[in-house]
Protein backbone atom coordinates (compact mmCIF):
# COMPACT_ATOMS: atom_id res chain seq x y z
CA UNK A 1 0.00 0.00 0.00
CA UNK A 2 1.13 3.50 -0.77
CA UNK A 3 2.52 5.81 1.90
CA UNK A 4 0.24 8.69 2.85
CA UNK A 5 0.11 11.50 5.39
CA UNK A 6 -2.42 11.80 8.20
CA UNK A 7 -3.71 14.90 6.48
CA UNK A 8 -4.32 12.94 3.29
CA UNK A 9 -6.11 10.25 5.28
CA UNK A 10 -8.32 12.95 6.83
CA UNK A 11 -9.24 14.52 3.52
CA UNK A 12 -9.93 11.16 1.90
CA UNK A 13 -12.05 9.90 4.80
CA UNK A 14 -14.04 13.11 4.71
CA UNK A 15 -14.51 12.92 0.95
CA UNK A 16 -15.96 9.43 1.26
CA UNK A 17 -18.80 10.69 3.43
CA UNK A 18 -20.25 12.67 0.54
CA UNK A 19 -22.76 11.07 -1.83
CA UNK A 20 -23.19 11.56 -5.55
CA UNK A 21 -26.65 13.11 -5.03
CA UNK A 22 -25.59 15.57 -2.33
CA UNK A 23 -25.86 19.33 -2.59
CA UNK A 24 -22.89 20.44 -0.52
CA UNK A 25 -22.22 23.92 0.89
CA UNK A 26 -18.43 23.97 0.93
CA UNK A 27 -16.22 25.78 3.42
CA UNK A 28 -12.78 26.96 2.32
CA UNK A 29 -9.60 24.96 3.04
CA UNK A 30 -9.88 21.31 4.07
CA UNK A 31 -13.64 21.05 3.33
CA UNK A 32 -12.98 22.33 -0.18
CA UNK A 33 -10.26 19.75 -0.81
CA UNK A 34 -12.46 16.92 0.50
CA UNK A 35 -15.52 18.01 -1.48
CA UNK A 36 -13.61 18.29 -4.73
CA UNK A 37 -11.89 14.97 -4.12
CA UNK A 38 -15.33 13.39 -3.76
CA UNK A 39 -16.35 14.97 -7.06
CA UNK A 40 -13.19 13.66 -8.75
CA UNK A 41 -13.64 10.12 -7.42
CA UNK A 42 -16.92 8.46 -6.39
CA UNK A 43 -19.35 11.41 -6.61
CA UNK A 44 -18.96 12.97 -10.08
CA UNK A 45 -22.46 14.52 -10.07
CA UNK A 46 -22.28 16.10 -6.61
CA UNK A 47 -23.42 19.72 -6.55
CA UNK A 48 -20.84 21.93 -4.87
CA UNK A 49 -21.96 25.36 -3.69
CA UNK A 50 -19.66 28.06 -2.32
CA UNK A 51 -21.01 30.99 -0.33
CA UNK A 52 -19.70 33.42 -2.96
CA UNK A 53 -22.76 32.36 -4.96
CA UNK A 54 -21.33 29.75 -7.32
CA UNK A 55 -23.69 26.81 -7.86
CA UNK A 56 -22.57 23.40 -9.18
CA UNK A 57 -19.00 24.51 -9.60
CA UNK A 58 -16.29 22.12 -10.86
CA UNK A 59 -12.95 23.81 -10.20
CA UNK A 60 -9.88 22.25 -11.81
CA UNK A 61 -7.70 23.62 -9.02
CA UNK A 62 -8.62 24.38 -5.42
CA UNK A 63 -9.52 28.00 -4.78
CA UNK A 64 -7.42 29.92 -2.27
CA UNK A 65 -10.40 32.07 -1.33
CA UNK A 66 -14.09 31.29 -1.24
CA UNK A 67 -14.58 33.32 -4.41
CA UNK A 68 -11.69 32.68 -6.82
CA UNK A 69 -12.60 33.21 -10.47
CA UNK A 70 -12.11 29.49 -11.08
CA UNK A 71 -15.26 28.77 -9.07
CA UNK A 72 -17.35 31.10 -11.18
CA UNK A 73 -15.82 30.03 -14.51
CA UNK A 74 -16.74 26.40 -13.91
CA UNK A 75 -20.14 26.91 -12.24
CA UNK A 76 -23.57 26.14 -13.70
CA UNK A 77 -24.47 29.68 -12.65
CA UNK A 78 -23.56 32.25 -10.01
CA UNK A 79 -26.10 34.06 -7.86
CA UNK A 80 -25.75 37.13 -5.65
CA UNK A 81 -24.73 36.52 -2.05
CA UNK A 82 -28.08 37.53 -0.50
CA UNK A 83 -29.81 35.02 -2.78
CA UNK A 84 -27.28 32.33 -1.84
CA UNK A 85 -28.00 32.74 1.84
CA UNK A 86 -31.75 33.30 1.46
CA UNK A 87 -33.02 30.96 -1.27
CA UNK A 88 -30.38 28.25 -1.25
CA UNK A 89 -29.04 27.89 2.30
CA UNK A 90 -32.00 29.14 4.35
CA UNK A 91 -34.33 27.80 1.66
CA UNK A 92 -33.35 24.29 2.74
CA UNK A 93 -31.85 23.34 -0.63
CA UNK A 94 -28.52 22.12 0.80
CA UNK A 95 -28.15 18.52 2.00
CA UNK A 96 -24.68 18.81 3.56
CA UNK A 97 -22.76 21.70 5.02
CA UNK A 98 -19.03 21.03 5.19
CA UNK A 99 -17.26 22.99 7.91
CA UNK A 100 -13.90 23.38 9.59
CA UNK A 101 -13.22 25.32 12.76
CA UNK A 102 -10.60 26.55 15.20
CA UNK A 103 -12.09 24.88 18.28
CA UNK A 104 -14.67 22.15 18.79
CA UNK A 105 -16.26 20.59 21.86
CA UNK A 106 -17.64 17.10 22.39
CA UNK A 107 -21.08 18.13 21.14
CA UNK A 108 -19.49 19.45 17.95
CA UNK A 109 -20.22 23.07 18.69
CA UNK A 110 -17.62 25.19 16.90
CA UNK A 111 -15.67 28.31 17.76
CA UNK A 112 -14.07 30.46 15.08
CA UNK A 113 -14.62 33.79 16.85
CA UNK A 114 -12.32 34.37 19.84
CA UNK A 115 -9.97 32.72 22.26
CA UNK A 116 -10.43 34.42 25.60
CA UNK A 117 -13.23 36.84 26.50
CA UNK A 118 -15.13 38.37 23.57
CA UNK A 119 -14.52 41.94 24.75
CA UNK A 120 -10.85 41.37 25.56
CA UNK A 121 -9.76 38.55 23.29
CA UNK A 122 -6.50 36.74 23.69
CA UNK A 123 -6.71 35.75 20.06
CA UNK A 124 -9.19 37.35 17.73
CA UNK A 125 -10.18 34.73 15.13
CA UNK A 126 -11.87 35.64 11.82
CA UNK A 127 -15.44 35.08 13.04
CA UNK A 128 -18.43 33.09 11.92
CA UNK A 129 -18.87 34.02 8.29
CA UNK A 130 -21.49 31.65 6.92
CA UNK A 131 -21.14 29.07 9.69
CA UNK A 132 -23.90 30.09 12.15
CA UNK A 133 -26.60 29.57 9.51
CA UNK A 134 -24.87 26.69 7.71
CA UNK A 135 -24.91 24.83 11.03
CA UNK A 136 -28.70 24.93 11.37
CA UNK A 137 -30.03 25.20 7.81
CA UNK A 138 -28.23 22.34 6.03
CA UNK A 139 -29.70 18.83 6.15
CA UNK A 140 -26.63 17.62 8.02
CA UNK A 141 -23.12 18.82 8.81
CA UNK A 142 -19.75 17.22 8.21
CA UNK A 143 -16.78 18.68 10.07
CA UNK A 144 -13.13 18.21 9.18
CA UNK A 145 -10.44 19.26 11.71
CA UNK A 146 -6.97 18.17 12.81
CA UNK A 147 -7.02 16.97 16.41
CA UNK A 148 -5.08 18.62 19.21
CA UNK A 149 -5.65 19.65 22.82
CA UNK A 150 -5.92 23.31 21.92
CA UNK A 151 -8.56 22.74 19.28
CA UNK A 152 -10.53 19.83 20.77
CA UNK A 153 -11.49 21.52 24.02
CA UNK A 154 -13.69 20.71 26.99
CA UNK A 155 -15.37 24.10 26.95
CA UNK A 156 -15.51 26.61 24.11
CA UNK A 157 -14.77 30.25 24.81
CA UNK A 158 -17.47 31.16 22.31
CA UNK A 159 -20.07 29.17 20.40
CA UNK A 160 -19.84 30.47 16.86
CA UNK A 161 -22.04 27.77 15.39
CA UNK A 162 -24.34 25.23 16.97
CA UNK A 163 -23.55 21.54 16.98
CA UNK A 164 -25.67 19.63 19.47
CA UNK A 165 -25.51 22.45 22.04
CA UNK A 166 -25.59 20.76 25.44
CA UNK A 167 -26.37 17.42 23.82
CA UNK A 168 -29.47 15.23 23.86
CA UNK A 169 -32.48 16.95 22.32
CA UNK A 170 -31.04 20.45 22.64
CA UNK A 171 -31.30 21.16 18.89
CA UNK A 172 -34.96 20.12 18.87
CA UNK A 173 -35.63 22.30 21.90
CA UNK A 174 -34.19 25.25 20.00
CA UNK A 175 -36.62 24.53 17.18
CA UNK A 176 -33.97 23.26 14.77
CA UNK A 177 -35.22 20.50 12.48
CA UNK A 178 -31.98 19.57 10.70
CA UNK A 179 -29.70 16.72 11.81
CA UNK A 180 -26.61 18.68 12.83
CA UNK A 181 -23.05 17.28 12.78
CA UNK A 182 -23.37 13.65 11.73
CA UNK A 183 -19.67 13.20 11.02
CA UNK A 184 -16.44 14.65 12.40
CA UNK A 185 -13.38 13.54 10.48
CA UNK A 186 -9.93 14.21 11.95
CA UNK A 187 -6.37 13.25 11.13
CA UNK A 188 -6.72 10.39 13.64
CA UNK A 189 -10.23 9.00 13.41
CA UNK A 190 -13.89 9.48 12.53
CA UNK A 191 -16.50 10.53 15.09
CA UNK A 192 -20.27 10.23 14.83
CA UNK A 193 -22.81 11.47 17.37
CA UNK A 194 -24.24 9.02 19.89
CA UNK A 195 -27.87 8.37 19.04
CA UNK A 196 -29.13 9.61 22.41
CA UNK A 197 -26.59 11.84 24.10
CA UNK A 198 -25.27 13.27 20.82
CA UNK A 199 -21.74 13.20 22.21
CA UNK A 200 -19.28 12.79 19.33
CA UNK A 201 -18.12 9.18 19.49
CA UNK A 202 -15.21 7.49 17.73
CA UNK A 203 -16.54 4.97 15.20
CA UNK A 204 -13.44 4.24 13.15
CA UNK A 205 -9.73 4.82 13.78
CA UNK A 206 -7.35 5.51 10.95
CA UNK A 207 -4.79 2.75 10.22
CA UNK A 208 -1.85 2.81 12.60
CA UNK A 209 -3.42 5.29 15.04
CA UNK A 210 -3.90 4.26 18.70
CA UNK A 211 -6.56 5.19 21.25
CA UNK A 212 -3.78 6.71 23.33
CA UNK A 213 -2.94 9.11 20.54
CA UNK A 214 -6.57 10.11 20.21
CA UNK A 215 -6.96 10.60 23.97
CA UNK A 216 -3.75 12.62 24.13
CA UNK A 217 -5.00 14.96 21.43
CA UNK A 218 -8.49 15.58 22.81
CA UNK A 219 -9.43 17.99 25.59
CA UNK A 220 -12.24 15.82 26.92
CA UNK A 221 -12.54 12.17 27.86
CA UNK A 222 -13.11 10.50 24.52
CA UNK A 223 -16.04 8.16 24.09
CA UNK A 224 -15.61 5.15 21.79
CA UNK A 225 -18.38 3.22 20.07
CA UNK A 226 -19.04 -0.32 21.27
CA UNK A 227 -17.58 -1.57 18.04
CA UNK A 228 -14.81 0.61 16.71
CA UNK A 229 -13.60 -0.26 13.22
CA UNK A 230 -10.56 0.73 11.22
CA UNK A 231 -10.93 3.46 8.63
CA UNK A 232 -10.12 1.90 5.26
CA UNK A 233 -6.73 3.16 4.10
CA UNK A 234 -6.62 5.49 1.10
CA UNK A 235 -6.82 3.69 -2.21
CA UNK A 236 -4.25 4.34 -4.89
CA UNK A 237 -6.92 6.13 -6.95
CA UNK A 238 -7.90 8.40 -4.05
CA UNK A 239 -4.30 9.32 -3.32
CA UNK A 240 -3.56 9.89 -6.96
CA UNK A 241 -6.53 12.21 -7.46
CA UNK A 242 -5.87 14.14 -4.26
CA UNK A 243 -2.18 14.64 -5.00
CA UNK A 244 -2.87 15.64 -8.58
CA UNK A 245 -5.42 18.15 -7.33
CA UNK A 246 -2.91 19.63 -4.86
CA UNK A 247 -0.18 19.68 -7.50
CA UNK A 248 -2.43 21.49 -10.00
CA UNK A 249 -3.38 23.93 -7.27
CA UNK A 250 0.20 24.67 -6.24
CA UNK A 251 1.17 25.19 -9.86
CA UNK A 252 -1.76 27.53 -10.49
CA UNK A 253 -1.13 29.63 -7.39
CA UNK A 254 2.61 29.60 -7.95
CA UNK A 255 2.21 30.78 -11.54
CA UNK A 256 0.85 34.01 -10.24
CA UNK A 257 3.67 34.69 -7.78
Amino acid sequence: MAEYTSNEMMTIAAARALRNEDVCFVGIGAPSAASNLARLTHAPDITLIYESGTIATKPTVLPLSIGDGELCDTALTTVAVPEMFRYWLQGGRVTVGFLGGAQIDKYANLNTTVVGPYDKPKVRLPGGGGAPEIATNCGEIFIIMSQGKRSFVDKLDFITSLGFGEGGDHRERLGVKTKGPTKLVTDLCVFEPDATTKEMTVVTIHPGVTREQIDANTGWKVRYADKVGETPAPTAKELEELRALHARTAKAHGDQA
Binding site: V81, Q90, V123, G130, E133, F158, I159
Partner: protein, 285 residues
Amino acid sequence: MPRFSSLHDAIATNIKDGDTVAMEGFTHLIPHAAGHEVIRQGRKHLTLVRMTPDLIYDQLIGMGCADKIIFSWGGNPGVGSLHRLRDAIEAGWPNKLAIEEHSHSAMANAYEAGAANLPFAVLRGYIGADLPKVNPNIKSVTCPYTGEKLATVPAIRPDVTVIHALRADKAGNVMLEGILGVQKQAVLAAKRAIVTVEEVVDDFGPRNLNATILPAWTLSAVCVVPGGAHPSYAQGYYKRDNAYYKAWDAIARDRDGFLAWMKTNVLESGPEAFAPHAQRLAAAE
Protein backbone atom coordinates in the same frame (compact mmCIF):
# COMPACT_ATOMS: atom_id res chain seq x y z
CA MET B 1 -26.42 62.07 -16.20
CA PRO B 2 -22.99 60.39 -16.63
CA ARG B 3 -21.16 61.45 -13.49
CA PHE B 4 -17.65 60.51 -14.57
CA SER B 5 -14.95 61.99 -12.40
CA SER B 6 -11.43 61.33 -11.15
CA LEU B 7 -11.14 58.97 -8.21
CA HIS B 8 -9.66 61.82 -6.19
CA ASP B 9 -12.66 64.04 -6.76
CA ALA B 10 -15.19 61.25 -6.24
CA ILE B 11 -13.76 60.44 -2.81
CA ALA B 12 -13.26 64.11 -1.87
CA THR B 13 -16.85 64.98 -2.78
CA ASN B 14 -18.66 61.97 -1.42
CA ILE B 15 -16.85 60.66 1.67
CA LYS B 16 -16.62 62.80 4.79
CA ASP B 17 -15.02 62.18 8.18
CA GLY B 18 -17.40 60.22 10.37
CA ASP B 19 -19.36 58.67 7.48
CA THR B 20 -20.58 55.12 7.45
CA VAL B 21 -18.89 53.62 4.40
CA ALA B 22 -19.40 50.23 2.78
CA MET B 23 -16.68 49.12 0.37
CA GLU B 24 -18.05 45.86 -0.96
CA GLY B 25 -16.95 43.07 -3.24
CA PHE B 26 -17.10 39.42 -2.22
CA THR B 27 -13.55 38.24 -3.00
CA HIS B 28 -14.18 39.43 -6.57
CA LEU B 29 -14.10 43.16 -7.49
CA ILE B 30 -12.90 44.58 -4.18
CA PRO B 31 -12.37 48.36 -4.63
CA HIS B 32 -8.76 48.51 -3.45
CA ALA B 33 -7.81 51.62 -5.44
CA ALA B 34 -10.67 53.54 -3.84
CA GLY B 35 -9.59 52.33 -0.41
CA HIS B 36 -6.09 53.69 -1.04
CA GLU B 37 -7.53 57.04 -2.10
CA VAL B 38 -9.50 57.27 1.16
CA ILE B 39 -6.27 56.63 3.06
CA ARG B 40 -4.39 59.26 1.03
CA GLN B 41 -7.08 61.81 1.74
CA GLY B 42 -6.75 61.08 5.45
CA ARG B 43 -10.36 60.32 6.32
CA LYS B 44 -10.98 59.74 10.03
CA HIS B 45 -13.66 58.31 12.32
CA LEU B 46 -15.27 56.21 9.61
CA THR B 47 -17.62 53.37 10.40
CA LEU B 48 -16.53 50.72 7.93
CA VAL B 49 -19.09 48.13 6.83
CA ARG B 50 -18.07 45.00 4.91
CA MET B 51 -18.89 41.31 5.11
CA THR B 52 -15.25 40.27 4.66
CA PRO B 53 -12.90 43.11 5.71
CA ASP B 54 -10.01 41.68 3.62
CA LEU B 55 -6.77 43.56 2.99
CA ILE B 56 -8.65 46.74 2.06
CA TYR B 57 -9.94 47.27 5.60
CA ASP B 58 -6.77 45.92 7.20
CA GLN B 59 -5.07 48.87 5.49
CA LEU B 60 -7.71 51.47 6.40
CA ILE B 61 -7.79 50.30 10.00
CA GLY B 62 -4.01 50.17 10.29
CA MET B 63 -3.81 53.74 8.98
CA GLY B 64 -6.26 54.97 11.61
CA CYS B 65 -9.20 55.83 9.34
CA ALA B 66 -11.83 53.87 11.27
CA ASP B 67 -13.56 54.15 14.64
CA LYS B 68 -15.80 51.15 14.11
CA ILE B 69 -16.18 48.13 11.89
CA ILE B 70 -19.33 46.17 11.07
CA PHE B 71 -18.39 42.77 9.62
CA SER B 72 -19.03 39.04 9.47
CA TRP B 73 -15.66 37.42 8.64
CA GLY B 74 -12.37 39.16 9.24
CA GLY B 75 -9.54 37.09 7.82
CA ASN B 76 -7.11 36.86 4.93
CA PRO B 77 -8.93 34.17 2.92
CA GLY B 78 -6.97 30.94 2.75
CA VAL B 79 -3.97 32.60 4.41
CA GLY B 80 -4.78 33.51 8.01
CA SER B 81 -5.35 36.60 10.10
CA LEU B 82 -5.77 40.24 9.19
CA HIS B 83 -3.00 41.42 11.49
CA ARG B 84 -3.92 45.10 11.48
CA LEU B 85 -7.56 44.28 12.29
CA ARG B 86 -6.40 41.98 15.10
CA ASP B 87 -3.95 44.54 16.47
CA ALA B 88 -6.71 47.15 16.60
CA ILE B 89 -9.14 44.81 18.36
CA GLU B 90 -6.62 43.08 20.63
CA ALA B 91 -4.30 46.01 21.42
CA GLY B 92 -6.12 49.18 20.29
CA TRP B 93 -3.43 50.13 17.76
CA PRO B 94 -3.41 52.68 16.20
CA ASN B 95 -6.71 53.45 17.94
CA LYS B 96 -9.48 51.64 19.71
CA LEU B 97 -11.79 49.98 17.21
CA ALA B 98 -15.43 49.29 18.07
CA ILE B 99 -16.86 46.18 16.43
CA GLU B 100 -20.34 45.10 15.47
CA GLU B 101 -20.18 41.48 14.42
CA HIS B 102 -22.71 39.46 12.44
CA SER B 103 -22.93 36.31 10.39
CA HIS B 104 -22.69 36.43 6.58
CA SER B 105 -26.36 35.59 6.28
CA ALA B 106 -27.32 38.44 8.59
CA MET B 107 -25.12 40.98 6.78
CA ALA B 108 -26.37 39.89 3.35
CA ASN B 109 -29.95 40.16 4.59
CA ALA B 110 -29.23 43.56 6.17
CA TYR B 111 -27.93 44.98 2.87
CA GLU B 112 -30.90 43.45 1.09
CA ALA B 113 -33.29 45.12 3.53
CA GLY B 114 -31.46 48.41 3.04
CA ALA B 115 -31.87 48.19 -0.73
CA ALA B 116 -35.56 47.45 -0.21
CA ASN B 117 -35.96 50.48 2.09
CA LEU B 118 -36.99 48.32 5.03
CA PRO B 119 -35.73 49.16 8.53
CA PHE B 120 -34.84 45.57 9.38
CA ALA B 121 -34.32 42.08 7.99
CA VAL B 122 -35.72 38.78 9.21
CA LEU B 123 -33.75 35.54 9.03
CA ARG B 124 -33.64 32.00 10.31
CA GLY B 125 -30.35 32.56 11.96
CA TYR B 126 -28.15 32.76 15.03
CA ILE B 127 -29.89 29.78 16.63
CA GLY B 128 -27.81 28.42 19.47
CA ALA B 129 -24.97 30.81 18.64
CA ASP B 130 -23.28 33.25 21.04
CA LEU B 131 -23.22 36.33 18.80
CA PRO B 132 -26.65 37.57 19.99
CA LYS B 133 -25.18 37.67 23.52
CA VAL B 134 -22.50 40.17 22.48
CA ASN B 135 -24.31 42.10 19.72
CA PRO B 136 -27.38 43.95 21.07
CA ASN B 137 -28.44 44.74 17.50
CA ILE B 138 -29.45 41.13 17.00
CA LYS B 139 -33.07 40.98 18.10
CA SER B 140 -36.15 39.02 17.10
CA VAL B 141 -39.73 39.26 15.87
CA THR B 142 -42.58 36.83 16.20
CA CYS B 143 -44.27 35.66 13.01
CA PRO B 144 -47.86 36.97 13.06
CA TYR B 145 -49.06 33.75 11.40
CA THR B 146 -47.10 30.86 12.92
CA GLY B 147 -45.91 32.33 16.22
CA GLU B 148 -42.32 31.38 15.37
CA LYS B 149 -39.58 33.60 16.74
CA LEU B 150 -37.10 34.72 14.07
CA ALA B 151 -33.87 36.68 14.29
CA THR B 152 -33.72 40.28 13.08
CA VAL B 153 -30.91 42.66 12.22
CA PRO B 154 -31.12 46.37 11.40
CA ALA B 155 -30.96 47.25 7.72
CA ILE B 156 -27.59 48.56 6.55
CA ARG B 157 -27.98 52.05 5.08
CA PRO B 158 -24.47 53.41 4.42
CA ASP B 159 -23.81 57.07 3.80
CA VAL B 160 -21.60 55.93 0.94
CA THR B 161 -21.08 52.62 -0.83
CA VAL B 162 -17.97 52.10 -2.95
CA ILE B 163 -17.65 49.23 -5.41
CA HIS B 164 -15.48 48.22 -8.35
CA ALA B 165 -17.26 46.98 -11.49
CA LEU B 166 -16.24 45.60 -14.86
CA ARG B 167 -17.34 48.41 -17.17
CA ALA B 168 -19.52 51.43 -17.71
CA ASP B 169 -21.14 52.60 -20.91
CA LYS B 170 -20.82 56.19 -22.08
CA ALA B 171 -24.07 57.12 -20.35
CA GLY B 172 -22.58 56.01 -17.03
CA ASN B 173 -24.59 52.82 -16.59
CA VAL B 174 -22.47 50.16 -14.88
CA MET B 175 -22.36 46.41 -15.55
CA LEU B 176 -21.37 43.64 -13.15
CA GLU B 177 -20.82 39.98 -13.98
CA GLY B 178 -19.48 36.88 -12.28
CA ILE B 179 -19.40 36.74 -8.49
CA LEU B 180 -21.84 39.55 -7.72
CA GLY B 181 -21.52 39.53 -3.95
CA VAL B 182 -23.73 42.14 -2.29
CA GLN B 183 -22.64 45.04 -4.47
CA LYS B 184 -25.96 45.85 -6.10
CA GLN B 185 -27.71 45.74 -2.74
CA ALA B 186 -24.99 47.83 -1.07
CA VAL B 187 -25.25 50.52 -3.77
CA LEU B 188 -29.05 50.65 -3.65
CA ALA B 189 -28.99 50.75 0.17
CA ALA B 190 -26.67 53.78 0.27
CA LYS B 191 -27.31 57.51 0.13
CA ARG B 192 -24.37 57.97 -2.26
CA ALA B 193 -22.46 55.50 -4.40
CA ILE B 194 -19.04 55.57 -6.07
CA VAL B 195 -18.12 53.00 -8.70
CA THR B 196 -14.66 52.42 -10.14
CA VAL B 197 -14.59 50.48 -13.42
CA GLU B 198 -12.00 48.73 -15.56
CA GLU B 199 -13.08 50.57 -18.71
CA VAL B 200 -15.74 52.60 -20.48
CA VAL B 201 -17.29 51.08 -23.59
CA ASP B 202 -19.37 52.74 -26.30
CA ASP B 203 -22.29 50.62 -25.28
CA PHE B 204 -22.63 47.19 -23.69
CA GLY B 205 -23.46 45.56 -27.02
CA PRO B 206 -25.46 42.33 -27.27
CA ARG B 207 -25.96 41.06 -23.78
CA ASN B 208 -28.06 38.93 -21.50
CA LEU B 209 -31.50 40.51 -21.16
CA ASN B 210 -31.16 40.32 -17.39
CA ALA B 211 -27.56 41.53 -17.11
CA THR B 212 -26.77 43.04 -13.74
CA ILE B 213 -26.70 46.74 -14.49
CA LEU B 214 -26.80 49.74 -12.18
CA PRO B 215 -28.39 52.64 -14.09
CA ALA B 216 -26.35 55.86 -14.11
CA TRP B 217 -28.98 57.68 -12.04
CA THR B 218 -28.39 55.35 -9.07
CA LEU B 219 -24.73 56.42 -8.86
CA SER B 220 -22.99 59.55 -7.56
CA ALA B 221 -19.70 59.03 -9.40
CA VAL B 222 -18.14 56.67 -11.91
CA CYS B 223 -14.30 56.59 -12.11
CA VAL B 224 -12.19 54.72 -14.63
CA VAL B 225 -9.45 52.91 -12.69
CA PRO B 226 -8.01 49.97 -14.65
CA GLY B 227 -6.78 47.29 -12.27
CA GLY B 228 -8.58 49.06 -9.42
CA ALA B 229 -9.56 45.77 -7.77
CA HIS B 230 -6.01 44.42 -7.43
CA PRO B 231 -5.06 42.19 -5.54
CA SER B 232 -8.69 41.13 -5.86
CA TYR B 233 -9.73 40.47 -9.44
CA ALA B 234 -12.03 41.46 -12.30
CA GLN B 235 -13.58 38.51 -14.12
CA GLY B 236 -12.44 38.47 -17.74
CA TYR B 237 -9.77 41.14 -17.12
CA TYR B 238 -7.26 39.71 -14.63
CA LYS B 239 -7.06 36.98 -12.01
CA ARG B 240 -6.89 37.19 -8.25
CA ASP B 241 -3.31 37.82 -7.11
CA ASN B 242 -3.17 34.95 -4.64
CA ALA B 243 0.59 35.40 -4.21
CA TYR B 244 0.01 38.99 -3.12
CA TYR B 245 -2.55 37.84 -0.55
CA LYS B 246 0.03 35.41 0.83
CA ALA B 247 2.72 38.10 0.88
CA TRP B 248 0.44 40.47 2.78
CA ASP B 249 0.65 38.25 5.84
CA ALA B 250 4.30 39.18 6.42
CA ILE B 251 3.85 42.84 5.49
CA ALA B 252 0.97 43.38 7.91
CA ARG B 253 2.36 41.37 10.80
CA ASP B 254 4.66 44.17 11.98
CA ARG B 255 3.51 47.74 12.70
CA ASP B 256 6.62 49.49 11.36
CA GLY B 257 6.90 47.27 8.33
CA PHE B 258 3.24 47.96 7.59
CA LEU B 259 3.68 51.73 7.89
CA ALA B 260 6.72 51.70 5.65
CA TRP B 261 4.87 49.65 3.04
CA MET B 262 1.87 51.98 3.16
CA LYS B 263 4.09 55.04 2.75
CA THR B 264 5.70 53.70 -0.39
CA ASN B 265 2.77 51.90 -1.94
CA VAL B 266 -0.17 54.07 -0.94
CA LEU B 267 0.69 57.50 0.44
CA GLU B 268 3.31 58.21 -2.21
CA SER B 269 1.43 56.45 -4.97
CA GLY B 270 -1.82 56.93 -6.90
CA PRO B 271 -4.64 55.11 -8.70
CA GLU B 272 -2.48 54.72 -11.81
CA ALA B 273 -0.32 52.22 -9.89
CA PHE B 274 -3.05 49.60 -10.24
CA ALA B 275 -3.04 49.12 -14.00
CA PRO B 276 0.43 47.49 -14.19
CA HIS B 277 -0.60 44.86 -11.61
CA ALA B 278 -3.60 43.98 -13.72
CA GLN B 279 -1.55 43.84 -16.89
CA ARG B 280 0.99 41.53 -15.27
CA LEU B 281 -1.72 39.18 -14.03
CA ALA B 282 -3.56 39.21 -17.34
CA ALA B 283 -0.31 38.44 -19.17
CA ALA B 284 0.47 35.52 -16.82
CA GLU B 285 -2.65 33.59 -17.90
